[in-house]
């Protein structure tokens, strides 16, 4: 019945175990990134999201040394980094940039001490390798995903209010600071999860790209989170498919990287949404105005 699709799927795509794991993990991570990322874009914390992906690398390498799963090292390191960011960035809104910046400096410090020779491990974490995930990792990933998405959903209303206008939220009795810390914690877990499984590049791409696109399409945050998750899942699965197919493409040295395909798809979708919904949603315009002002 699906025979007409056979030119699209190289033989063995669906029966291949690494591909199945990649599709599953990629799907989970894309959904969580979409939900968390919608708020990241609204709150203007893209840099924090991106630098957490890099900083967690240090925790990942540390846990190799300690002999525990890199995922736990990632999460621990990122929760610590999120705490430092919150602490440094507390005085003024712009300071948060700086907090993220110095966190990155700390990463560098660590990388240089442990890997003074440029080993492949660092590069691997940076670019990720979705096809080499052990399937035993899936339950752990699922638990962390539920935690990250659950924190965001549990404080949905206060988080939304304080992301749109912190003054209004304060007036309504929302403890903005606490919500901010809780959100940063959820972001830290979500980013650790995606960075350790699919690499730092894809982590940022799936966190920011689909959410920014979705916020172009709709003004409603809940709907935007759903659309962002959907875009993320489609881009990830298409990316995995294309990477699998590309095994026989030029220059036939073992396939093109998944991250390239996913990033390109995410970026193209964003560009299309820019043209199609060129005026931008209210949230985004408000964001631009707030940033300019």
């Amino acid at each position: 019945m699906l025979g007409f699709l056979s030119p699209l799927f190289e033989p063995g795509f669906f029966s291949n175990a690494p591909v199945q794991t990649a599709l599953l993990v990629g799907g989970i991570v894309a959904v969580v990134s979409g939900i968390v990322g919608t708020f990241t874009v609204m709150r203007g914390q893209s840099f924090a999201g991106h630098s957490l992906a890099d900083i967690g690398t240090a925790g990942g390498s540390a846990s190799f040394l300690l002999g525990i799963s890199p995922l736990f090292g990632f999460v621990a390191m990122n929760l610590m980094a999120a705490g430092v960011m919150e602490w440094i960035g507390i005085r003024r809104p712009r300071g948060r940039d700086l907090g993220a910046a110095l966190g990155l400096a700390a990463l560098l410090l660590y990388l240089d001490t442990t890997a003074s020779s440029t080993t492949g491990a660092t590069i691997n974490v940076l670019f990720g390798s979705i096809f080499t995930l052990p399937s035993s990792l899936v339950p752990v990933i699922a638990i962390f995903s539920v935690v990250a998405a659950g924190v965001v959903l549990a404080m949905y209303r206060p988080l939304l209010l304080s992301s749109v206008s912190s003054d209004l939220a304060t007036a309504q009795g929302v403890r903005v600071r606490l919500v901010g810390i809780g959100y940063l914690g959820a972001l830290a877990v979500a980013v650790s999860l995606s960075a350790v499984t699919i690499g730092a590049i894809l982590s940022t791409a799936l966190l920011i790209g689909p959410a920014a696109t979705a916020l172009r399409i709709t003004n409603r945050t809940g709907r935007a989170a759903v659309i962002a998750s959907a875009i993320g899942v489609v881009a990830t699965w298409l990316g995995v498919l294309l990477a699998y197919d590309s095994y026989y493409w030029f220059p036939s040295r073992g396939g093109w990287p998944v991250s390239f395909f996913v990033v390109t798809l995410v970026f193209l979708l964003y560009l299309v949404s820019q043209i199609r919904f060129g005026r931008g949603s209210r949230v985004q315009r408000a964001g631009v105005a707030a940033q300019a002002g």
Binding site: V41, G44, R94, L102, I123, A212, F267
Partner: protein
């Protein structure tokens, strides 16, 4: 410690430090730390592409960092700046991973761009580094007044006829040039540290722009010099010392600010701190 190869290292690192200190002042002032992180990392992907088609790495660095700067400025007009920057860095790194998957022969040389090779700077590379550095500093001083104006008071500057979009493009191009010059010397990761930490520390010590800029360049110089010396003596990587000295100077700046605030403590001050704490 001051012979032959080491002399090149001292000279090139000093040039990079001074330029990074001056440019970094505006990066911190404008809150564009993310762009300062994105451009060097994205440019690294350009170097990978350059080696794939067999041209000099510096061409790839220049092309990618300039294209990246223009894209950030272009997309940033219609969306949030941080979103535009995040998308640009992932697209450039995505391309980089493609390039790296296609080329295998020269990979170590490309990876060295991540961490830099301050000890590998040859005498023939010194002149271009110095020239690009001069151009960067000259450009900053040519647009100094409007750039300062639009960084500190964007609304007032726009009302007075300063084109903030043009300023953004000009400034990001300077950052791109700085990147092109600095990445081969200190690496994509270290240049970020050099751009942010000294400038952030300098701003804690003084609020006068010229003094802060000078102080930032001085701190950057001090950081790099002590890092090279310490690394020479201890055999630990330079990046480790640049990172920790940078964090140290920033902490000193914060300590200085806290100490002064304590001395001048008044109900009004603490009330303000509380309020902005709640808002941030």
């Amino acid at each position: 410690m001051f012979s032959g190869l080491m002399l090149n290292a001292w000279e090139s690192a000093s040039i990079v430090a001074v330029v990074a200190g001056v440019v970094g002042f505006f990066i911190v002032l404008r809150g564009s730390a993310f762009a300062a992180h994105a451009l060097p990392n994205g440019a690294f992907a350009g170097a990978a592409g350059a080696s794939l088609i067999g041209v000099d790495a510096i061409v790839g660095l220049a092309v990618f960092s300039v294209l990246g700067a223009l894209t950030i400025a272009g997309l940033g007009r219609r969306a949030r700046h941080d979103v535009a920057t995040a998308l640009v860095i992932v697209v450039m790194l995505g391309l980089g991973s493609l390039f790296l998957s296609m080329t295998t022969e020269y990979a170590p040389e490309i990876y060295s761009l991540l961490f830099g090779e301050v000890l590998g700077v040859s005498s023939s590379e010194l002149l271009p580094i110095a020239l690009i550095g001069l151009v960067c500093i000259a450009a900053i001083f040519v647009v100094y007044r409007p750039l300062m104006f639009s960084s500190v008071m964007p609304d007032v500057a726009a009302a007075r006829g300063v084109r903030s979009g043009a300023m953004e493009v000009a400034f990001l191009l300077v950052v791109a040039l700085t990147t092109t010059m600095a990445v081969p010397v200190v690496g994509a990761l270290l240049i970020f540290s050099l751009l942010i930490s000294p400038a952030a520390a300098a701003r804690s010590f003084t609020s006068k722009p010229f003094t802060a800029m000078g102080l930032s360049a001085l701190i950057a110089l001090g950081t790099v010099w002590s890092a090279i010396a310490l690394s020479f003596l201890s055999n630990l990587p330079i990046g480790f010392f640049v990172g920790s000295i940078g964090a140290g100077t920033y902490a000193a700046g914060r300590g200085w600010v806290a100490w002064r605030r304590n001395r001048e403590a008044s109900p009004r001050h603490s009330g303000q701190a509380l309020r902005s704490g709640a808002a941030g």
